[in-house]
Symmetry: C3
Subunit: 317 residues, 3 copies
């Protein structure tokens, strides 16, 4: 593996999942692999789970891990070609990425979308330029349009909670939030589910349609109750509008997930990528009850990251 930015970087998804399950059983069996290798984790936006789980994943593989919160500890990067840099950006991504690529064997980078210009965000300009200039394997720690380590951990969690041979019904349901949220997690989850042995249904209010490229294998409906019928897994997530880009179109009354709504499901397990706004996106009763998988998902972040890092390390030779 040479980079990990979406499910399209995965040659064989089943094989990847199996390796993750093996690493979870015995996380320290490959400590030699990362000897004298440096993992740089670069954050242009805050992170708790991603930072900690990826740090541990690197350490489990014997790597030297360095974390850099570029937004707070460093300076603003310029991404435009040909820019006359007489403004507030201090360093061009050409230099920053190339230098970090010399210091690190593998680089993880997180950068959120600005949610102001759809084309700009969906071009994934920063991520693509960083990959192009740094010249070492890059793992996305969440980008403008995707969060593949999250989706990998999500799929691992679904796999672990599905009886062998069963093709579960998975529902991605939009949730209210107090602010405009990127589409990354929803996009990425849809894209990964589309490649997995599941039936995916997406439900959201009018105007919250995700970009077609992510939802080709999904059934989409604005009727949440109908969507939830017989669901085995319910993935709750807020996102802002893709069509009316970055906007919040409704206060989402009635869309919060509750135990009552789970009644029509197949005793569905409930998932969320965290952090979650309690009693806005999801009710306390679900999060504190037996159907919640949110902690299992978070725990699987370590093994998803470790599997990816292991493959990137193996690809270094």
């Amino acid at each position: 593996m040479k980079k990990f930015t979406s499910v399209q970087d995965v040659a064989d998804l089943k094989d990847l999942l199996q390796e993750a399950q093996q690493l979870k059983q015995n996380p320290y069996q490959h400590k030699e692999l990362g000897q004298n290798k440096t993992l740089g984790l670069l954050f242009l936006n805050p992170s708790l789970r991603t930072r900690m789980s990826t740090h541990i994943a690197g350490a489990n593989l014997g790597m030297n891990v360095m974390v850099m919160n570029l937004d707070k500890e460093g300076w603003a990067l310029e991404t435009q070609d040909g820019a006359v840099m007489n403004g507030s950006t201090v360093e061009h991504i050409k230099e920053a990425a190339a230098v970090l690529g010399q210091y690190c064997d593998i680089i993880g980078i997180r950068s959120f979308p600005k949610l102001q210009n759809r084309e700009e965000d969906y071009n994934e300009d920063l991520l693509h330029k960083f990959i192009s200039y740094c010249k070492v394997p890059v793992v996305s720690l969440e980008s403008a349009t995707r969060h593949p380590l999250q989706s990998f951990a999500d799929l691992l969690t679904i796999t672990e909670n599905t009886p062998a041979g069963k093709r579960p019904k998975v529902v991605l349901t939009w949730a209210p939030h107090v602010k405009a949220i990127p589409q990354c997690v929803a996009n990425s989850f849809s894209e990964w589910m589309g490649q997995a042995d599941v039936d995916l249904v997406i439900t959201h209010p009018e105007g919250y349609e995700l970009a077609d490229e992510f939802t080709q294998n999904a059934q989409v409906t604005t009727n949440q109750q109908e969507a939830l019928q017989d669901a085995d897994f319910v993935y709750v997530k807020s996102w802002s509008s893709y069509t009316d880009y970055g906007k919040v179109l409704t206060d989402g009354e009635g869309w919060m997930m509750t135990n009552e709504k789970l009644e029509g499901t197949n005793n569905a397990k409930v998932m969320h990528c965290l952090p979650v706004r309690r009693n806005v996106e999801l009710s306390d009763e679900i999060l504190d009850g037996p159907n919640s998988l949110v902690l299992e998902q978070a725990n699987n972040r370590t093994y998803a990251a470790q599997t990816v890092l292991k493959r990137l390390l193996e690809g270094l030779k």
Copy 2:
């Protein structure tokens, strides 16, 4: 040992002190103990000594150490049960603690009191909830009402500077400051001295009485000169009022510790937890002179932390 939040978590104080002295002699003899174990250090308030000494203590034991300044690099935590999280808190402590408990084998956490609502602070709500939800051993890196690693290092320093068999007179004296300071260090020092082989006298201006629970074995007086008489150790520390909660009641003129005030003592050693406001709490002449133990105290922070981490690691099995 399953947690370390106060002297009450210590079964045998003499034994703990002996182990700290042994570790100080040979800090690297237990590097196998922490192999493949992760120590997460979580700061909701700034730290220099605590962060660095605890980091080194973990490294001395072979642990993988991760530092997270949640206040600056992360987001605000919600602690209220049942909260509808439509405000500024981004994640509930239930999720944050539980996730970190999955990532880390031992967690250290620092959180200062707000000094606005006494009951809220003295309930130690955040610390107790964090311990309850994270499910792994927690070491307090200073909480709303106590700073036990500091007090352990202080007692170690007093022990090292006391002739065998002697029961020293220890005076805790209030000092002026430019702002309202928590009672944590004073509370915790009083509590630890109350369990040790020392005679403790506490002196402060009217209105600065500490909570009874911490001072049961101490003699208390508002006469500083009398208190200092024949003292072997003088611990200088500012704190805001407990009774008129969080308030500064006096400019404290005349309460700064000086060489002149030491004249009535038994050539007392002078202590402070640092950072110290020079020529406000303590005069330059003391800090730069032979009676100061402040650097020995800071140095002992490493061995106090290492002793605690060693015991928490041993308790993991």
Copy 3:
């Protein structure tokens, strides 16, 4: 070696350069040297290259590396002797340095000049006090007047790009910038070149003369075109005025380095310490072209730092 703050701390420059080249060939051959040794990296100003390269240098030597952004994660230091600390400074450098010196075996420290009072900056008060109080070897990560790790890496880069036996012509040329920049890099580069087998020419607009102490072995001219004639290396760098201290005296029109200006040179290699303001200091065409050495310089930062740390570790015995 007991400290590294300028070229004057280097006994034999040729020997230092040779060792750096050896370490670059085999960076992991001395991993035992740093076992159980802690490197503390203290930043009072932001850093990307210095922080990452020095971190890796320490890790390559087997050290435990701790990074502390004191400006953002800690508090303001007092440096004045005898200060009554009733203002905004929270800790005196006497205590902060002494404590860190107890925790760390080697300390790196970065602190920029304020560019307001020349005498204060050029006294290097903070650096000298830190060294004096911490009592362990200190490596400057850039100080008020010098950036020796950068200059060492620069000289290493020049050496690697010069045919054996040749004495190259090196030109340091002032460049425009959007803000007032310290003289550190220019000072330090001049000082190191003055000790090396090169002919140094410095060129800048009127009023940008560097302090004499750094430029004794250099030829200085305000005629950039003349200076560049037959140059083998062109080092581009902005700095504010030393004589009219900290001021920007001109918008520097015409001083930006371009391919056209390189025409009179000996196909000169172009250098810059980074971060660089593209199309303000240097044109895109140079940075993206074959004459740029800026990435080689950045890469050599690791080996410069590692050579210095190795010597400081060897000096610990």
